[in-house]
């Protein structure tokens, strides 16, 4: 799957990309680069529900702690558990091996209206 071509991004630097009937959510490489060395990651439990824009995970770099927001409302169906044990892997790859959670999203079309494609996102952050 090509992440950059297919994903949508939020202003708070989360990405979301369709994968079968589910959606994969993570942080963009720009966000990871801004954070620096990642040293801590806390993910929700499978089955948890979050509204659009709600905090579903916490991430910390050496410098600071940040919250991660769900770009659309949904239910957590899978979490990337390996990443919790070695969050530093996010500094190498925040897509293929570095996604955070998978969700089912019933209201995707409506919730995703303010999200940007990668090119627009890139010009927004640069």
């Amino acid at each position: 799957m090509s992440y950059r071509e297919n994903m949508l991004c939020s202003k708070s630097h989360e990405y979301i990309v369709k994968d079968g009937d589910k959606y994969v959510v993570g942080l963009t490489e720009y966000a990871i680069e801004q954070l620096g060395d990642i040293v801590f990651l806390e993910l929700p439990s499978v089955g948890d529900n979050f509204g659009k824009g709600e905090t579903f995970a916490n991430i910390e770099s050496v410098k600071a702690a940040s919250e991660i927001y769900l770009p659309v409302s949904g239910e957590i169906t899978e979490i990337n558990e390996q990443l919790v044990d070695s969050p530093e892997k996010l500094n190498e790859d925040c897509y293929e091996g570095g996604w955070l959670v998978k969700i089912s999203a019933d209201n995707f079309d409506n919730d995703s209206k303010d999200l940007m494609n990668y090119d627009d996102y890139k010009s927004e952050v640069e």
Partner: protein, 366 residues
Amino acid sequence: MVKETYLHGKHVKLGAKMVDFAGWHMPVQYSSIIEEHKTVRDHVGLFDVSHMGEVFVSGKDATKFLNKVVPQSIDKLQYEKAVYCQLTNKNGGLVDDLIIYKIGIECYLVICNASRIDEDLNWLVRNRRGMNVNIDNQSHNYSLLAIQGPKAINLMKKMGYNIEDQKSFTIKPAVIADVKLLASRTGYTGEDGFELLMENEYSEYLWDEILKEGQEFGIKPIGLGARDTLRLEAALHLYGNDLDETTTPIEAGLSWSVPKDKVSDYNGKDIIMNQIHNGIQRKLIGLEMEDRNIPRHGYEIYYNGEKVGIVTSGGVSPSTGKNIALGYVKNIDQIITGTTIQIMIREKLHDAKIVNRPFIQKRNKV
């Protein structure tokens, strides 16, 4: 306006991530904080700390004057020696923490925190009444480079430094890469190393030379991010976090820097002496998390369900892989080294253990 050191252009060119720190636009990291941290612990790192303040205090009453504004016995300080001390207010709280160097007869160099230069100068001027002393802020004319790490001495020698056996906490005129400067064997990392004070115009040349000559020793430029993790592991206080105007040196665990037998008076002496003899209400502790959560500045500390204090500096310790912090707690007998306490992180309590400071074995004494 945000200030820039003489080396600002070098940092930008090296691709450093720049941040505002105490009114200065400074490099927080060049590559990775963890990588830079390990470079200093294992090899050698170069820091631009030119934002720090340099104040020269001289005149007939210079010794008497400094003796009146810090708890340390400046009258006992010998030529070319340095002493860590604090500028106290009337309540024994700290206006700043400093290193004072004796560089001549009735002539001292005071190195102070960038964020506190104005307050320090104000306080010094207010305290000099009736004394023959000249307070000369030269911060804008000098650059300060720190070379820190186990290979610092090798690099210095390679660059022409030829002083035999310079001890820690001494300062000497030296020649490095043909530049005349003052070399102080001090630092803020817990490692052996030097802080080099030079006139601004030489700083760019020396910065480049040190990075070039240091290559064989694995040198890297080090930003403020790693400076913070290094000093935290060494349990060195950061003014503004661990020290402020309401904190006394005794509460801050700095009793070792407060002589018990000093005869002359200084600001806050009654309160500080009273604390030495009768105890304190709160004390500085070092702590280590029992899980992977990271304690940070401002987080609350709990013991037996009761809030007993606050974290003042915290973060990861790249050298030990632990998450560590400094903080203040109520001074009760039950809270001692080995005691399990809790830190409130994201509305949950997480166990931590009180441990001895520093968090690593310091190697800065030579």
